[in-house]
Symmetry: C2
Subunit: 507 residues, 2 copies
């Protein structure tokens, strides 16, 4: 049941008078519930509670934390259709996507439960004493990883489940032993509250200390600013725009005690297509990429926004084909009117740049908040000198660059900002020539996909979802996959510790 | 041979007119050589060279990087007595310390050589494809760790070898595949140039690309500011004061592309002594700690600057004994007149605080730049309310706090800033009561030592040399031990990559 209140630990709270509603972009109307914006007092209560709870929660055993995570998964499923309907009403996304994203969220929770059910993830090492070492005896030193403290999570507009309230950041932080305070995303506050209620139920059911999780409503920036500035908060997870992520990063860096901010931000996800690939299977690639560009109305952080080709007649035909196929797909609803207006504004800024040609644009009149897709093209030379064309247009948009040769293509890759992904579409006869492209691309991205699409991010040990700035604020960590837990822990060493005082896994 | 010039890769360079000399604190005179401060042009040359070299160096095999590191160790040994004499003339430290620190430096280089001789350190993982997974096939995804790019290293005043030119930061960054630019420490520019010459010889001898290492002289802050601000620099390592480390951190955070700064900064390294330990072996502990406090004139980042006790008659006797034993040790020379004047200034600031009593101070007249040791004491109540007493007094100084009970002791620990180490001196009958102290301490430090001294940092897999801010700027990494390599790398994933294009260790 949606109450519109904040969760301060296990308790519902509504101290403030400021309320807001979420929006149904498909119906183009506001949804019914009023959400109470958290007050400064409530923010402070949630953080102090998390800080006090941390003393207990950091020592809760791995198996009990695993029980908690699995219980969250169960409780989310138990929300049943109310969650799916609320999700749809707050995003304009279809039922299948809601169910799919819920499945992914559950899988993430269970993956982290499995990970922390034993202590292997702590990479424990033991260097035994060498009492007779010359000139000095060597101490017994044992290393493990321990939790940082309360973590604040900012959910994403485009993934109300998998990258929000109980998404990858929350699941990995709870798994690590950190209490979590979620700054609820204002576009899906109802979905957020439902999921928060599931987490609270799971916490109570599995005997977790009160304050291990809080959920604070916020339609503006004040709550987020207060959370990130609070001295008892020890780390931040964020998924969203470069502007938003950078603002939080700057805030955290200015604190008396700076804290790590893991922000997963913008990316245009360059795709390199060799002339051989176009020649051999250009039509199939155009079909696949028309689907990838428009999937989820292009609202994925791994959406292929930049396609790099070598100029030529077959390339020209491929671009026309890709454009026609993309704009033949019916427009879909965007998440929110603000996201639609950003799509239009940034899209216009990019397409108004010198040398850029719009190849195809969905021209029929679309419903409010629906996004017409668009394919543009530009020469490598014009692209190289104009960083405005590197902007992410969040939506069903892609820019095809026609490079004059491979040297120019490599130069373009080297000049790109950091990216989450890079994709190479190539034939076997290209392999001998690829190392230079792979090498340049590897230096700019977190993951290279070969003959596939960048959309779709597997949750597994080997996933890297992150990359050089501004793809993420700290490229040394991944936001997806079991490695994501490493963001919330630090190494810790015991020197010459009595066995009886060591944690079980280090004995 | 010391030339006073900068190394821009393999070439000596002296474009600027500004020169400076190092100082012999023992003789209280300037040393003979003139060092040429690097110009903005030289800074830029070194960075561009490192950036260009990174393309080649990141792909140099692990075995070749290991050869390079081992060759650096050999070349440093080949510097022979010139290095030892220069070291002594620039630090006032004795010959044994020079030789010992050189041995440690060599050991670090060889440890990282051994680490990267194969690719195990990259924590490679493979998730194999599941083509028949429902509803979507699972891709083949393989993860490794790759180098970040050019790293700038700021050496420490107190470790001209082990934490400077070819110290842990440089060794771990070169091992990871990152070119290194050292901002030479102005207090030991001659030692730095000699070590730099050894690195350059090793680079040439093992066929490393030119620019894999540069050494820039600098007596002010301009060179460091330019280096950290340069867009082609991708990470920073620093060992030194909180003020210096924080300035670099702030600078890096303000860049268009923020970069990681791993700064190992200040620490007062709390030592907890139980009444039982004082009762059973107070005299032996006083002897051991008088040695630890004055070792290296107290100029260690792990120097025990704060001793927490429970008030009582035996504690009073212990404090007097510790004070007498500490000040009975003859004063030693500090590294530089500036370090001596800081010692006096900060020491006076701490000891002038309300409630603090100086128990014993070396009173005889000491030579210029020699530091009289000092032991003070204060009640737990006075300490709790006055953070000025938490300041690090870099030198042979320690403050003993008399807590009224264990609860106050735990409260004091919880209120401390982040620390590199914490030490517990206790008897077996204390074990049952220790978990609360261990837990509180663990949340404030990177390493706990049991019944030992915090000075002395082993180079091994299990070492954590780092801790919550301000002990280090990023507690998620260690500065010492093989784990230090993780500061300079990021995860990277290959998705559905053809075997022939994968790196050897991921095939």
């Amino acid at each position: 049941m949606i109450t519109g209140k904040n969760y301060i630990g296990n308790n519902l709270s509504e101290k403030g008078n400021k309320t807001y509603k979420t929006f149904n972009p498909k119906l183009n109307i506001k949804n019914e519930y009023n959400f109470h914006e958290a007050t400064l007092e409530e923010v402070n209560e949630a953080v102090i509670l998390a800080h006090n709870t941390f003393k207990e929660y950091r020592n809760v055993s791995g198996t009990k934390r695993a029980d908690f995570l699995n219980a969250i998964a169960d409780e989310i499923m138990d929300l049943g259709d109310e969650l799916v309907q609320t999700y749809m009403s707050e995003t304009g996304l279809p039922e299948g996507r809601a169910a799919g994203e819920r499945g992914r969220t559950i899988f993430q929770l269970r993956s982290f439960a499995e990970l922390v059910a034993n202590d292997e993830w702590r990479d424990n090492t033991i260097d035994e004493a060498v009492p007779d070492r010359v000139p000095m005896p060597m101490s017994d030193i044992r290393k493990t990883y321990i939790a940082l403290g309360p973590v604040v999570v900012f959910g994403a507009s485009n993934f109300p489940l998998a990258y929000s309230t109980a998404g990858g950041d929350t699941a990995s932080a709870l798994a690590a032993g950190c209490p979590v305070i979620v700054k609820s995303h204002p576009m899906h506050a109802g979905t957020g509250e439902l999921v928060a209620s599931a987490i609270i139920k799971a916490a109570e059911r599995t005997g977790m200390p009160n304050g291990v999780f809080s959920n604070l409503n916020s339609s503006g920036i004040e709550v987020g600013v207060q959370l990130v500035s609070h001295p008892k908060v020890k780390a931040v997870g964020f998924t969203g725009s470069i502007k938003g992520g950078r603002a939080l990063y700057d805030l955290a860096a200015k604190r008396e005690e700076p804290i790590p901010v893991f922000a997963e931000m913008g990316s245009i996800n360059p795709v390199i297509i060799t002339p051989n690939a176009i020649s051999k299977r250009g039509e199939a690639l155009a079909t696949t990429y028309a689907g990838s560009i428009t999937m989820g109305t292009g609202q994925f952080c791994t959406n292929p926004g930049l396609i790099l080709t070598i100029a030529g007649n077959e390339t020209e035909a491929f671009i026309k084909d890709l454009a026609a196929k993309t704009t033949a797909i019916d427009p879909q609803c965007m998440l929110h009117p603000n996201i639609k207006s950003n799509y239009t504004r940034v899209g216009n800024d990019v397409t108004s740049q010198n040398g850029l040609e719009v190849v195809s644009k969905y021209e029929a009149i679309v419903a409010d908040n629906f996004a017409p897709s668009q394919i543009s093209t530009v020469s490598g030379t014009d692209f190289l000198i104009n960083p405005k064309m590197h902007q992410e247009v969040f939506g069903p948009f892609s820019l095809v660059v026609r490079c004059k040769d491979e040297a120019q293509l490599v130069e373009i890759i080297e000049g790109l900002e950091g990216q989450l992904t890079g994709t190479i579409l190539a034939e076997e006869e290209d392999y001998a020539n690829l190392p230079e492209i792979v090498d340049a691309l590897q230096n700019r991205v977190g993951r290279i996909i070969f003959n596939g699409v960048p959309t779709g991010v597997e949750v597994c040990d080997s996933m890297t979802h992150g990359g050089p700035y501004p793809a993420s604020s700290d490229s040394r960590f991944t936001a997806v996959g079991t490695g994501a837990i490493k963001r919330w822990v630090r190494p810790f060493s015991y020197q010459d510790f009595p066995k009886e005082l060591l944690p079980q896994s280090l004995k």
